[in-house]
Symmetry: C2
Subunit: 235 residues, 2 copies
DNA sequence: AGACTGTATTATGTTATACATAATAATTTC
DNA sequence: GAAATTATTATGTATAACATAATACAGTCT
């Protein structure tokens, strides 16, 4: 065997900690067919005993699973398998203050893509009541957006409602969760300065399309509506 | 005071555990301006001492932060603040086997929205090399997709490249991460049976548009290309 | 019988202590 | 002065003991 091969083999040794191993074992257990959501998993001491490690290690592994939202623990009852809440999890680790600038910008971009791409779901699922609600929101909207603070709240109200109409909880929660990011991106000089705000498709225009138009029309209108944001990203 | 009011007041007592409190304290510390990415945070024993709790509690709180990707720990060095990797975190908790059916469907929908909505980023950032790469991918694509397995691999290759072209790492990793979900959704009878596969815009057609068309054209073409998926969702 | 109360049990939550291990700093050796 | 050795330090692991809260069970009272 050549030296190269030897070193190659050597560096593939298992450097993971005990907790890592136990965590893997537990996850295997969780996704096995034997355990369904709501079922309990063995007690800490049993696991420690079976796996041949201390309760400390088991507890730390369980803590990780808890943090990931895979299990919930209660006294006496023990730990039970739960279906993980992705958005809730993201929310927990989403602190714009300590996030990479580039990632922040990319998340901002993702939002733009989502709002354009979800047009089909909006048009498929919108109800007359939704349209009425949208109209109520944009009713007393100032033609010229001079009050910046008001404008932001209004933006959130309007676009939030759109996410709601999409009938997709994951999307809706995604938006809720990313709001702080958007706010942060706006405030920090992360993007280019706002260009001259030309007149693009307004909220009222979007509502009009949602009521009478097609998904394709909504996509294009939304793209136009978001033009200022795109312009800031694309220089 | 009425009994109702009393009980209302009583149930607002702090039921959070010690670890919860310590975790909050630590997060406050992390997002404070004093600590930047790469900086170390106090040692476990110091923290235990200052906060007046045992080292075990501090360790468990730190374990949570580690799991969330907010910090990394090394022996001797201690714990250092890191910018959290959102997608990596999601990946860790993403087990289609134990996820709620509805959530799975919603994630699938989100993918569709993203692929349509990212057209602008693709058109803005695509290079001649990218186009060449795309052409190479679709070159020997069978006109009639008879080999299902091959088709899936091909789908991943092609659309993966599109995510790459979007120049958005978060998006790209999102796709990578959600692939198992798509696979799972396809295999499980979660969606309606595939309708008669009519002839829609092909990969080759998409490439053609990317090379010579506009963002708007790409959005519409992509929507068309994904029609089968939409049909399965919308019945 | 049925509702309330107290007690026992059990599994997680918390503390304390000791030692192992790996990464860094300090020291010695040549 | 560079390399090897040793010391130090902070995290990783193990063990034992007790606290706490949720549940089950029995007992009491009307």
């Amino acid at each position: 065997m050549s030296t190269l091969e030897i070193t190659k083999n050597l560096q593939s040794i298992d450097t993971s900690s005990l907790v890592d191993k136990v965590e893997r074992k537990l996850i295997e257990l969780l996704i096995s067919k034997d355990i369904k959501v709501g079922d309990s998993i063995p007690k800490e001491l049993e696991l420690a005993d079976v796996l041949g490690v201390s309760r400390t290690v088991v507890r730390e592994a369980l803590t990780r699973l808890k943090t990931l939202g895979l299990i919930e623990t209660k006294k006496k009852r023990g730990a039970v398998l739960t279906n993980p809440d992705l958005t809730g999890l993201l929310e927990k680790s989403l602190y714009p203050e300590i996030m990479d600038k580039n990632t922040l910008r990319e998340i901002f971009e993702m939002r733009l893509a989502l709002e354009i791409g979800m047009a089909d779901f909006i048009m498929e699922r919108v109800t007359p009541e939704d349209v009425a609600a949208l109209k109520a929101i944009v009713e007393d909207e100032p033609t010229v957006a001079d009050q910046h603070l008001f404008q932001i709240e209004q933006e959130i109200r309007f676009h939030g409602k759109l996410y709601e109409i999409s009938g997709n909880q994951v999307l809706k929660r995604f938006q809720q969760m990313l709001l702080p990011v958007f706010d942060y991106v706006h405030k920090s000089g992360l993007l280019k300065k706002m260009p001259k705000t030309k007149k693009f498709v307004s909220h009222k225009g979007l509502v009009e399309i949602i009521e009478n138009g097609s998904a394709e029309m909504l996509r294009n209108a939304m793209r136009n509506h978001l033009e200022n944001h795109f312009a800031r990203i694309f220089e």
